[in-house]
């Protein structure tokens, strides 16, 4: 599904990604974790074409990213911060995205119901809470039933009910052989949702593989502790 090879990104003097190579299988839920500033968001933005790699190649669904935008037809993205034009309503935000695509938004109604947004969409986005705006982002990301769903810190600001619905949404995606890429700092969420984990520190991949393998390697049962153990070993 996603092949990243020798990806390197430099911002002026700061190197955000060092020679990153990674393969993500179709139908998997992969968590990307790492400290703040480790390169998680840069990696995701490279996949989305928002950041131009200094060198290296990215292939998504067989298409090599070369500046064209068509490959994004199969991607849904939930950003870390959900900000919209404040004087437009939720419905208008959805209409903007729908106007940019040719195919019908098959899951729009289902997702609006799932995230309980029906009565919120007529309001201007300035009147919506952070959590509600985040749910609106999820509708935008999921309404075209994308083959690849990328979520950047999706659980931040969500109430417990929406949190459960989000996890169910991700599980449904996996069941339908869709690929999910998620960054989070909440290890328990990741333990629950993901099959694979990628640990990035200082722009370098320190571990990439199944969560169970990480636990096996470190001899820990909880992902949180397993990650801490791995980082301790790296530091030693």
């Amino acid at each position: 599904m996603i092949e990243i090879s020798n990806l390197h990104k430099r911002f002026s003097k700061f190197v955000a990604l060092h020679d990153v190579s990674l393969s993500i299988k179709r139908g998997s839920v992969t968590g990307i974790i790492g400290p703040n500033g480790s390169g998680k968001s840069t990696l995701i933005k490279c996949l989305l074409g928002l950041v131009n790699p200094t060198s290296g190649t990215i292939t998504i669904n067989g298409s090599v990213l070369d500046g064209a935008c068509d490959y994004r037809q199969s991607i849904g993205y939930v950003p870390q911060i959900a900000r919209f034009p404040q004087d437009l309503t939720g419905n208008e935000i959805i209409d903007i995205v729908k106007g940019l695509r040719k195919e019908p938004a098959t899951l729009e109604r289902e997702l609006v119901e799932r995230f309980d947004l029906r009565h919120e969409l007529a309001k201007r986005t300035r009147a919506l809470s952070g959590g509600t705006r985040q749910k609106l982002s999820m509708v935008l990301a999921g309404m075209y039933d994308p083959e690849l769903l990328i979520l950047d810190e999706p659980t931040a600001g969500l109430d417990p009910v929406s949190n459960i619905r989000l996890k169910q949404f991700i599980a449904d995606h996996r069941d339908q052989k869709r690929t999910v890429l998620v960054t989070t700092h909440i290890m328990s969420d990741l333990d629950e949702m993901a099959d694979e984990v990628v640990i990035i520190i200082d722009g370098r991949i320190r571990f990439a593989g199944p969560i169970r393998e990480l636990k096996l390697q470190t001899g820990e049962l909880r992902l949180e502790v397993a990650v801490a153990r791995l980082l301790e070993r790296e530091a030693a």
């Binding site: 911002f11 074409g49 928002l50 994004r72 993205y77 034009p85 209409d95 106007g99 940019l100």
Partner: protein, 263 residues
């Protein structure tokens, strides 16, 4: 183009409900009505209005454009994760915001003008000229603000830069030209002054009005030279072409920057 118009249409809807956008229109409405109450002759109202427009439109367009661009950053990123190219998004936002500000200005000035002015061909022409020049200035300074906001990631630096541009073009520039004129008064200065006019959009806007009207109150030194040397029709042609270039150039550079920018 269809997608740019789609994005632009929603930018228009956003600005039409924005309190600052509404305040901008209301300001011109109140000022124009107020001027008509104070001065019975629409020619004098036009002169006062033009002074306000030359000063205020660049400032408001610059600030509004810069703030709107920075505030839309996260949403622009979200839109760019759709199968749409960057040129479309940038151009759509620019057109939408430009159309909103121009409409706000035209409504604010045009409505009371039409209501109060004495109907004559001359008056109507002066109104149309006022609206056209104001619209040009709106779009020019919006284009410059988008360019600077694209280049400078930091909001504070972006705002400082656009305020610097406004301060220079609206206030400092003519003073420098005047000083240079005095310092080199023994030399033939027509050509350098013509170049000086073309390189400042506010002076260009002023000159465009001068060559069409007798609004002597607006006569800066540079405008007088331009008028004297080129006469009416040629002067207007050159000024209009230069005004268009002042729109096209920052838009093209901004588009180029935006296409290669890391978001």
């Amino acid at each position: 183009m269809r997608l740019s118009l789609h994005i632009g249409w929603y930018a228009i809807r956003d600005v039409a409900r924005n309190r600052w956008g509404l305040l901008y229109t209301a300001f011109f409405l109140v000022v124009t009505v107020g001027l008509f109450q104070l001065q019975a002759q629409s020619a004098k109202v036009a002169v006062s209005l033009m002074s306000i427009c030359l000063f205020l439109i660049p400032l408001v367009s610059s600030l509004f454009g810069t703030i709107y661009f920075y505030n839309s950053r996260e949403f622009v990123e979200l839109v760019l994760t759709q199968p749409v190219n960057r040129r479309t998004v940038y151009f759509g936002m620019f057109c939408g915001l430009g159309a909103s500000l121009v409409a706000g200005f035209i409504l604010g000035v045009g409505l009371p003008y039409l209501f109060f002015m004495t109907i004559s061909q001359e008056q109507l022409l002066s109104l149309l000229l006022l609206l056209a020049v104001g619209s040009f200035l709106t779009v020019i300074f919006l284009a410059i603000s988008f360019l600077l906001a694209t280049i400078l990631d930091d909001r504070g630096k972006g705002l400082a830069a656009i305020l610097g541009v406004w301060l220079f073009t609206a206030l400092v520039y003519d003073g420098l030209v005047m000083l240079a004129t005095m310092a080199f008064s023994d030399y033939p200065l027509e050509t350098p002054l013509l170049i000086a006019v073309v390189t400042n959009p506010i002076d260009l806007a002023r000159v465009t009005l001068l060559v069409q009207t007798d609004w002597a109150a607006l006569m800066g030194y540079t405008g007088a030279v331009f008028n004297r040397f080129f006469g009416t029709s040629l002067g207007v042609s050159i000024a209009v072409v230069a005004l268009c270039l002042w729109i096209v150039t920052p838009v093209l550079i901004g588009l180029r920057q935006f296409r290669h920018k890391d978001l």
